[in-house]
């Protein structure tokens, strides 16, 4: 069902855990399937993401996308991190089954939520960042039957 990359990130998730006194923490849930993802960011004074950790309650795709998202985010500037889309995460994982695309949205949203938290705490404005929804649930096209 999943690609080798997804299975690798699921079996050996990178950067699981918590960051104490993190610069920003974001928790998002997917009302549609009831899954939850939390992302911790450690951001230095130059606005570079030094460390990133996650915890996820969710399916294999949710775990793998969390793991991949932390990899992609590390070392990036805040602005660069903001541009990481769920599509980029999926591509980095060699794709996801169609029913699992929504899981990758969790990762994108979790990054945004953590960045939002960082911006709030440090009273800065990040260009292009909007207040994240706590619940993401995107309409999928159901075929009629």
């Amino acid at each position: 069902m999943y690609s080798e990359k997804v299975m690798d990130h699921f079996q050996n998730p990178r950067n699981v855990g918590e960051i104490e006194n993190a610069s920003g923490v974001g928790t998002v849930g997917n009302a549609k399937c009831g899954d939850i993802m939390r992302m911790y960011l450690d951001i230095d004074d130059d606005g570079i993401i030094r460390d990133c950790k996650f915890k996820t309650f969710g399916c294999g795709a949710a775990v793998a996308t969390s793991s991949m998202a932390t990899e992609l985010v590390k070392g990036k500037t805040v602005q660069e991190a903001l541009e990481i889309t769920n599509k980029a995460v999926m591509e980095a994982l060699d794709g996801l089954p169609p029913v699992k695309v929504h899981c990758s949205l969790l990762a994108e949203e979790a990054i945004h939520a953590a960045l939002w938290d960082y911006a709030q705490k440090h009273d800065i404005k990040i260009e292009g960042l909007e207040k994240p929804k706590s619940d993401i649930s995107e309409e999928e096209d159901e075929e009629d039957y």
Partner: protein, 392 residues
């Protein structure tokens, strides 16, 4: 391939070697169409009759009350749709439960669109239908009560005899989806007042793609598949002779081995349940503690998501299933787990393990250790667990 511990026998089972052996000649040797005139086709015809007899005997029914279908779903669809059609003049109200298989639930929804009314009964925390609610639901225009014999997810066995009695006192037809129960528990259609009963071959070590609907003589029934004169003109289509032979053989085996097999399964199941409940904290057993299918165990592990659990078990060679939204096409968690009152996030972490005659104590020991390891790992990754620990 590494050793496989297959504990998903409620999803489907291995076709028994005896069943295979019985079927094979009907593919390549006695392949005649039972409807044909010549002697060669008589062999196929005879095989059908024998299978029908075996199945009828298993239910204490008569041979001409067994109608072969392509499986449990078709039997369920047929029972509901044809009864609705045949008895519409009497009324358009049907009673069923919230924990039926989708083959019943979605057919119920379809009938609702056609103008029928369907009452979906609640169940208690163990998954048992409430008989007083059933009695209250009955109306003068109720034409059918359909309650599954045993639930496919949590294994709870319903008080079928009591339900049958209530139905018959009121002159209402009683259908039961026995896809999970048939071959696992003794069934007597007369004693239980069952008018229609669905079953499926692949759940009892028979082949996939074959099942049957028992229809009591006297029940007005319409065809679901129209066409040729097969199955006493009730179900058209060239008979799946090998499938029917295989089903007959599987039923014969299931009946003959039932006592010994299910006693052994129960013992192992209880051993599994006891160890898991004792050794994995924040865990609950879903379904009824004793009134459950001999081979079914269903757990919820708090703070853990089902699909992740299944994939990790799979990496240890263990096949199980989950009522988690993430494993099904739809994104809603199991309607059964919600019906017994579990909140979404706990319903998410459910694991169903269903044993077979081949399951050993060593298998169970291995599985318990694997569960312990995986649940610990997943909890360490779970934001829900983190919150819980911090709050306590």
């Amino acid at each position: 391939m590494k050793k496989l511990i297959y504990l998903d026998n409620a999803a489907t089972t291995k076709t028994a070697p005896e069943v295979m052996e019985a079927m094979i000649p009907y593919f390549t040797e006695y392949y005649g169409n039972p409807s044909s005139v010549y002697d060669f086709a008589g062999i196929s015809k005879k095989a059908l009759d024998e299978s029908r007899e075996t199945i009828a005997n298993a239910l204490h029914a008569k041979e001409n009350e067994i109608y072969f279908t392509a499986g449990g779903s078709e039997a369920d669809n047929w029972a509901l749709k044809a009864t609705a059609e045949a008895y519409a003049a009497k009324g358009k109200h049907i009673i069923t439960t919230k924990i039926e298989h989708h083959a019943i639930l979605h057919t119920g929804e379809y009938l609702e669109k056609l103008g029928y009314e369907v009452t979906y009964l609640d169940v208690d925390e163990f998954g048992v239908v409430k008989l007083d609610q059933l009695k209250k639901a009955i109306r003068p225009d109720t034409i059918l009560i359909s309650v599954m014999f045993a639930n496919n997810e949590i294994g709870t066995i319903q008080p079928i005899k009591e339900i049958g009695e209530i139905a018959h006192e009121q002159g209402i037809l009683f259908h039961t989806d026995a896809v999970q129960a048939f071959g696992q528990v003794p069934i007597d259609v007369d004693e239980y007042h069952i008018d229609m009963l669905s079953a499926s071959g692949h759940k009892l070590n028979g082949p996939k793609g074959i099942g049957f609907l028992y229809i009591r003589k006297g029940v007005k029934i319409r065809s679901f598949v129209h066409g040729g004169a097969q199955e006493r003109k009730r179900r058209a289509g060239t008979e799946n002779v090998p499938g029917i032979v295989g089903l007959g053989k599987a039923v014969e085996l299931a009946v003959n081995t039932m006592e010994e097999r299910t006693a052994k399964e129960k013992e192992l199941r209880d051993y599994l349940i006891d160890r898991v409940l004792k050794e994995v904290p924040y865990t609950r057993l879903n379904g009824h503690r004793t009134n459950r299918l001999p081979n079914n165990a269903n757990f919820s592990f708090q703070f853990v998501e089902g699909e992740s659990l299944l994939i990790m078990l799979d990496m240890d060679g263990i096949c199980g299933s989950s009522g988690s939204a993430c494993t099904s096409g739809s994104l809603d968690p199991s309607h059964v787990l919600l019906a017994i009152g579990l909140p979404h996030e706990i319903a998410h972490g459910s694991l169903r393990l269903t044993l077979s005659a081949e399951t050993t104590k060593e298998d169970i020991d291995f599985v318990v250790e694997s569960i312990k390891k995986i649940v610990t790992k997943l909890r360490s990754m779970s934001p829900l667990y983190e919150d819980f620990i911090k709050q306590n």
